[in-house]
Amino acid sequence: MIKITVNGRSVELDDSMTVEHMLDRVDVPPNYLAVEVNAEVVPREDYTTQPIQDGDQVELVTLVGGG
């Protein structure tokens, strides 16, 4: 069991996993999304290889209306 933080909320995962699998687990719509792990953007092409590990700080962001 590992514990990570996603958008400020604590999330427990069974084990270390790739970004792609983490996105499945936290159940966010995959469209229009950007992922940041420990303040570094993860390019989409790295989702299948970049690992998520215990203690990681994850931000999942999208676009909203703004001025």
Binding site: R9, V26, P29, V35, P43, R44, L63, V64, G65
Partner: protein
């Protein structure tokens, strides 16, 4: 045009259509977890027509603004939108006035420009800060007319004139965009009449009683102001100058006076 503060996504889309704008700002925000019902703004924008300009609104440090810019770029890259390398940089210094932090803004602008971003940089109407931002690589400097969302219009037209003069000196095509503070259509015309290349506005449309009609007014204000600037206003004179010929007039002048009095 900004896309925030509308009652509905449909109202936003209709206002955008009425405005004629082809560049819209969007904000980068945390995705709501565990909720698939939310609408995404991108489903309401014609991405073939609109260049998306992600902003760093709500950031108070250069570090956070740079993170937001990079996240926005990552989202837009996957959409193939021409705005992918663009960012509207906004680093605030005070949550009450929403005035920008000039030190953090210059720092973030420099780093983002070096990272390949086209930085359209929100700043105050301070000419010195505007010069610094251009020097560190801003693709466009965007001075505020007045505080964000205040609707006060252009509070210091002299500073805006100086910014336009300084930034366009020897570089007439350098874009200067008035960003923030617009209250109504005449504010937009005024900015263009000063020589601004664009105006960025949001609340003046979104919070008008009839946003779609106000969006249309903004379009005409833009066309009127820009044409008036290009056509060249006449100089102001203290005394009147008759438009009709003085010869052949059939009136007398009971209070005296000649042509020159």
């Amino acid at each position: 045009m900004g896309t925030g503060r509308y009652d509905t996504m449909t109202q936003m889309r209709d206002s955008l259509d009425a405005s004629g704008s082809d560049c819209v700002t969007v904000a980068v925000r945390r995705e709501r977890l565990y909720d698939r019902s939310g609408q995404n703004i991108l489903d309401f924008l014609d991405l073939d027509r609109c260049t998306l300009l992600p902003n760093t609104a709500g950031c108070f440090t250069a570090t956070d603004a740079i993170r937001a810019a990079r996240l926005g770029r990552e989202i837009l890259k996957t959409l193939g939108n021409p705005g992918a390398d663009w960012v509207k940089l906004e680093v605030l210094g005070d949550s009450k006035t929403l005035l920008p932090d000039p030190v953090q803004t210059v720092e973030a602008c420099q780093e983002l420009a070096a990272d390949g971003f086209k930085v359209l940089c929100y700043t105050s109407d301070c000419p010195v800060t505007a010069k610094r931002l251009k020097e560190v690589g801003a693709a466009s400097v965007m001075p505020a007319g007045s505080p964000i969302g205040s609707g006060q219009g252009l509070l210091n037209k002299n500073n805006l004139r100086i910014i336009l003069e300084y930034l366009k000196d020897g570089d007439p095509d350098y874009p200067v965009i008035v960003d923030a503070g617009v209250g109504t259509a005449s504010d937009v015309s005024e900015a263009f009449e000063l020589g601004a290349d664009g105006v960025l506005l949001n609340t003046a449309i979104a919070h008008a009683r009839d946003p779609v009609r106000m969006a249309r007014a903004m379009k005409y204000a833009t066309l009127a102001g820009r044409d008036a600037y290009l056509a060249g206003r006449i100089p102001k004179k203290l005394y009147g100058t008759a438009s009709s010929p003085s010869e052949g007039v059939i009136s007398t002048r009971p209070y005296g006076g000649s042509e020159n009095q």
